[in-house]
């Protein structure tokens, strides 16, 4: 009798195992869902990584709230922030909010823009949106290339490399967005430059601890979370540089040149330099934590020579013709008042990220 019970028990056990195999949520050796995407990529896929949160797992912001730069209390003077001048108004976006959202879709419906900031590469760029799109917004894809944010556009789901500033996969592949000038600096610097600016506040609709940097001591240590395709140890990986590139798109061999933000010193410097066939001016101040690069050749062929201006923010330089220029590259006084210097393809990033994307980086040494 007991032998029959034991046999019955064993049969029941095996039945349980069998049913478990077929209903165990895809267990039991079911093949993983792998869909091979054979569409074209402009970047090596073996350096594209799943960051973990998934698509929109880091939620982009849409038309966030702002308050006056004079009254906002949640941003410290030494906190880094980004200023954008759009439709004549200056808006400031603190890093400590961007660390958690990475993308801000902002601007009026007929003239939207996208600000993206990648905390892992320390890079920020802004692009004009395509007002013709039914949805001109961008989201965080959850993917990283060389540790850098890959955005996706909600119109076509194309992937965009932030640092290459081009679509690298999808229907819009090779498309280049139209850049907007931005200034990255300490909030105190930006507030002094533009006291009438408005500042994105923490009423984002999301519960995040904005005062808490989410990546521990990442900004200072030498570690990188995701493998990069090229390593160059000429500088500490997290050295903040402002770089300028030639060409466009996802070209790892583009000529580039970088300037260390920490090397400008406490007095503003204006470096009249030559990069490839461009005459440029690099203006920066380590204490104020800002640097910008403009083309110093005007539309009429005149090449200006600049000298720095101290203690007159937002004016940062004057030229050999007696014009005074502000941080957004506008002549505010002098014979060329109202003239705008041409933007360059430049932005700030951590050195490791810049040189991973542009392996031919030249370092400027004074």
């Amino acid at each position: 009798m007991s032998q029959i019970r034991s046999t019955a028990a064993l049969v029941l056990f095996l039945v349980f195992i069998g049913s478990g195999c077929s209903s165990g949520g895809g267990g039991g050796g079911a093949a993983p869902e792998v869909v091979v995407d054979d569409s074209e990529w402009l970047i090596p896929r073996n350096f594209v990584f799943d960051g973990g949160p998934g698509i929109d797992g880091i939620p982009a912001l849409q038309n966030p709230d702002f308050e006056s730069a004079e009254t906002i209390s949640t941003v410290g003077s030494d906190d880094l922030a980004i200023a954008i001048k759009h439709n004549g108004a200056v808006k400031i976006y603190p890093h400590d909010i961007l660390d958690w959202h990475e993308i801000v879709n902002d601007g009026p419906e007929d003239n939207p823009f996208i600000l993206s900031y990648c905390p892992l590469t320390g890079s920020a760029v802004a692009w004009l949106g395509n007002a013709a799109d039914t949805n001109a917004t961008f989201g965080v894809s959850g993917l990283l290339y060389n540790s850098n944010l890959l955005l996706y556009d909600r119109q076509t789901s194309s992937l965009w490399s932030q640092m290459y500033e081009t679509s690298v996969n999808g229907p819009r592949i090779r498309e280049l967005p139209q850049r907007i000038q931005l200034i990255e600096a300490k909030f105190g610097t930006l507030r002094e430059m533009y006291p009438d600016a408005v500042v994105m506040n923490r009423n984002t609709g999301y519960s995040r601890d904005y005062g808490d940097y989410p990546y521990d001591d990442y900004r200072e240590n030498a570690g990188v979370f995701f493998p990069v395709s090229h390593v160059d140890n000429r500088m500490h990986p997290k050295t903040r540089v402002i770089g300028i590139r030639a060409g466009s798109g996802a070209d790892v061999e583009s000529p580039t040149k970088v300037y260390q933000l920490g090397a400008f010193g406490s007095a503003t410097q204006a470096i009249n330099d030559q990069f490839e066939d461009q005459s440029i001016v690099v203006v920066g101040n380590t204490d104020l934590d800002f640097a910008v690069i403009y083309n110093r050749e005007l539309a009429d062929g005149t090449i200006l020579t600049f000298t720095p201006i101290e203690n007159d923010l937002p004016n940062i330089m004057s030229d050999n013709e007696g014009n005074v220029w502000d941080a957004f590259g506008s002549a505010v006084s002098g014979p060329r008042a109202g003239t705008q210097l041409a933007m360059t393809k430049s932005y700030t990033a951590f050195w490791f990220a810049w040189v991973a994307h542009f392996t031919n980086a030249e370092i400027y040494f004074n």
Binding site: L12, C21, V48, D209, P214
Partner: protein
């Protein structure tokens, strides 16, 4: 009489939800194989078979010790089917092996990423210098073993290889140490209290990713009634170090978890039992700013003891 008592002791030990790593899915891929291992050590020439289904809802967003609303509509869950076979080699030595099948799923913004397949395996050698018997109220077992990355660890979606915590296998070997002590509270050994501890030392996979080493301690009690029903309750503490890639610590991984794990067991026969347990978070203190972690986990185990 003594055989019955030993069997009862083994079944009560199996009721012990002794699950040193039941919490260990947390935000990582390491399916709790060691936690799934039953605490029973079969006697000489006995076989112990168990199959366990586990479900982990890993959708809780936690900042330090506070749960915060995710607001992204993200759903994250893991399921595992774990098969265990143990064999008593002598009265004191036994060996156990586990094989797992795992599925991870992440749903967000209309995109579902899913990976399933063979997961990791575990082999463990156990030594039991003391067992509950008519002569002893104490049971003590030590185990050492290894986790073997038998399964796939490079599952992809249409873009790229999925994150490590979505892979069926960790892709890395690990060293396991385990200890278990139980004391019978009455003559029949139907009531027991126990403590167990385990430590996992993780290696890194071929992408140089290493899940953080973890330590677990469980305190619990179990009671087998005069009916086929038995009950258990366990308090489970787990500490995990941060994960690393290329020896760089990954923020927002690792931390401390305290869970309570009630369990109920039904003996269909003297040797066949079904056990159900659920893991409920009590407290957490997770590293850095934000982590996804287990909201709850449930487990159903069918175990069968046979042999001499």
């Amino acid at each position: 009489m003594s055989t019955n008592r030993i069997r009862l002791a083994v079944s009560v030990a199996a009721l012990a939800v002794s699950s040193p790593a039941f919490a260990s899915t947390c935000s990582c891929a390491s399916i709790p194989l060691l936690g799934t291992m039953e605490s029973a050590s079969p006697n000489e020439n006995q076989w112990f078979l168990a199959t366990t289904y586990e479900f982990h809802d890993v959708s809780e967003l936690v900042a330090g010790s506070s749960t915060i609303p995710d607001q992204t509509g993200r759903e994250r869950q893991s399921q595992a089917l774990v098969f265990e076979i143990s064999r008593g080699l002598t009265q004191k030595w036994s060996v156990s092996a586990l094989l797992s099948a795992v599925e991870h799923e992440r749903k967000i913004s209309g995109q579902t990423d899913r990976a399933s397949g063979v997961g990791d395996a575990v082999v463990m050698l156990k030594y039991s210098p003391a067992s509950i018997s008519v002569y002893s109220k104490n049971a003590l077992t030590f185990g050492v073993g290894s986790r073997l990355p038998l399964g796939e660890d490079d599952a992809s979606n249409r873009f790229t290889t999925l994150a490590e915590d979505l892979q069926p296998s960790t892709g890395a070997y690990a060293g396991l140490m385990w200890a278990y002590y139980a004391r019978a509270l009455n003559e029949s050994a139907g009531a027991q209290v126990y403590v167990s501890a385990s430590h996992t030392i993780n290696g890194d996979n071929d992408r140089d990713y290493q899940f953080g080493d973890s330590t677990s301690i469980a305190l619990g009690g179990s009671y087998q009634t005069q009916t086929p029903w038995g009950f258990g309750m366990e308090l489970l503490y787990r500490h995990a170090k941060r994960d690393e890639r290329n020896s760089v610590e990954i923020p927002n991984t690792g931390g401390n978890w305290l869970d309570i794990v009630p369990a109920v067991q039904y003996h269909a026969t003297e040797t066949l039992a079904v056990k159900a347990s659920v893991k409920i978070p009590v407290a957490r203190d997770l590293n850095d700013s934000l982590q996804f972690t287990t909201r709850y986990a449930a487990r159903l185990t069918l175990s069968y003891l046979f042999g001499e």
